[in-house]
Amino acid sequence: MKGILGLTIILTLAWLPTTGADLTLTGSTTVFPIIQAAAEEFMAKHPEVDITVRGGGSGVGIAALIDGICDIAMASRPMKTKEIKRARADGINPCETVIARDGLVIVVHPANPITSISTETLREIYTGKINSWKDVGGEGGTIVVISRDVASGTFEVFKKMVLKGKRVRADALMLASNKAVAQTVAQTPGAIGYIGLGYLSPHLKALKVDGVMPDAETISSGKYRLARPLFLYTNGKPRGLAKRFIDFILSPSGQKIVKETGYLPVR
């Protein structure tokens, strides 16, 4: 019995991820700016600590947590049942921490005269029923539809809230990050896209959705409906350095970073 216990302890210790960094976070590009800024401040306060932050999308982060190649998964959507099942089967007990709130912002090129859009019109644009800006009160021209790819939590949330499960049109440009969507829309006069609040910049124009402009107040109050929590997932309750880092994000200093990066604090 002692032998089995000893073997278990040795194997469990040996299993701890050895990526070179003390703490590795992987996943959502929406959550990425918060974590990157928080990691920089945390490492400045604790120079002995090395934190690595990687993007890839919520799905990639969750897969990395299950495969034991990251300590914390960043996600802009909750884990799916099949992901939780796979994690549990592989000895991973996903534990969820909400660190911020975000709004999905519908963006167009600043030269676009459109200021507002309804959820229904968005759905028709993204499913291919509407192709011209003229059909939504614009000056004409083809709508260039920009979306996130399927590994993205932002895509999943958009699909659920706006598309009601329907498919994105086949000619939509599927991009791998919020940054790529923001850059493409900023450079394409006929484009429409959706991004996390933190990626909004003067190079983009945010649209009101169903008459409501996304901002801290409308998202907090629930008036702006395209809102969602942002998550960190750990294997079991956070411990050690992961706990210290998550506690830091949830502290007043960490929540200030959340606000500074354009998202909404939860505390």
Binding site: A14, D67, T81, K82, R88, A89, G165
Partner: protein
């Protein structure tokens, strides 16, 4: 007849839906190139290279609620002048959303039994029930399969021909088989489950009852699979009972060495008729899987598998057999759906 109806239904529905909604597709290719050396009582019997298996897979999503898969299995064989064979391995439609986290699958599909339906070939050899031809890995039929909420496991209820995907038309009997499967994950790292297949009559027997119990334990980098397998064939009072088991520990060395290698050991025992002496065999396997490249989300990209297998027979007149196999597998999918 049932198989033909199912295939016609799947193809017709696919064409109809493809016409209504173009949808989105991905394709995958899976290729297994293998070297095998077989020895019988220390005498070399066979030494060859071969492309043992190739799959072409086409997944298509019509809507979020309807998707499909077609898998064509290509294999080397001396049976035909061309030196290769072709079989339809999967051809099914999934209907989702009828029950939360579940789908209705119609067509040529996986057999939700024991370890066969999610066997990822950690050893080059098939899983016990497939290797001993107790059940085929795919069959024609209808199933309801889904996940238990909060990740506590999965279930399946299936009605199939019972004879497997290679048998069709004249080799398929009149009675369908009923298959049930349940897997539970009570605590993270421990999976337990059981499956049963019941068939009233078959082309070679009057009654068939198959049952399997499985367990999978994960402790850090160590994973241990265990399976019990039982088969009862024939009418009441004249039943042939077979039984066997498999135990397979695998140790992941990636975190220990930085090299993505798994060490695998496996022990199988199968006794086709427990009342007959001399028909059982024990098979011991040792080897490793070296993941040269991981695919998307950790799935196989390129892996080198090396296995040594020793088979010892209960029959004292039959000497032990050894096989050394080295297999290079490469698999890709164009994009996830």
């Amino acid at each position: 007849m049932m198989a033909r109806i199912v295939v016609i239904a799947v193809v017709s529905t696919r064409l109809l839906l493809a016409g209504l909604a173009p949808g989105e597709s991905n394709i995958g290719a899976y290729t297994w190139f293998r070297y095998t050396a077989e020895m019988e009582t220390d005498e070399l019997r066979e030494s060859r290279f071969g492309l043992e298996r190739g799959y072409l897979r086409w997944n298509h999503r019509f809507t979020d609620r309807i998707d499909s898969r077609v898998n064509v299995d290509i294999y080397s064989t001396d049976k035909y002048p061309a030196g290769a064979g072709l079989k339809l391995k999967y051809g099914y439609l999934n209907f989702k959303g009828l029950i939360r986290d579940a789908k209705l699958t119609i067509g040529l599909q996986k057999s939700y039994f024991g370890l066969i339906y999610d066997w990822k070939y950690p050893t080059i050899q098939k899983c016990l029930e497939d290797k001993e031809k107790v059940i085929a890995s795919a069959d024609y039929g209808i199933s309801l399969n889904g996940n238990i909420p909060k990740g506590y496991g999965e279930y399946a209820i299936q009605v199939v021909n019972g004879e497997g995907y290679k048998k069709y038309k004249s080799l398929v009997n009149l009675a369908p088989a009923l298959l049930v499967n349940l897997r539970v994950i009570p605590i993270p790292g421990i999976t337990i489950g059981g499956s049963a297949l019941f068939e009233r009559s078959g082309p070679e027997y009057d009654r068939r009852l198959l049952h399997a119990g499985i367990a999978r334990v994960v402790i850090g980098p160590l994973t241990i699979w265990a399976e019990y397998l039982g088969a009862e064939l024939g009418p009441e009072g004249n039943t042939t009972r077979g039984s066997g088991f498999m135990v397979m520990p695998a140790l992941r060395l990636r975190e220990l060495t930085g090299i993505d290698i798994d060490l695998i050991a496996r022990l199988d025992r199968w006794d086709e008729d427990v009342e007959e002496i001399g028909d059982a065999s024990i098979r011991a396997t040792g080897g490793f899987n070296w993941h040269l490249l991981r695919g998307k989300k950790g799935k196989i990209g390129v892996v080198l598998q090396v296995n040594w297998v020793r088979t010892i027979y209960e029959d004292p007149d039959q000497g032990p057999e050894d096989a050394v196999m080295a297999q290079l597998r490469w698999e890709f999918v164009t994009k996830p759906l």
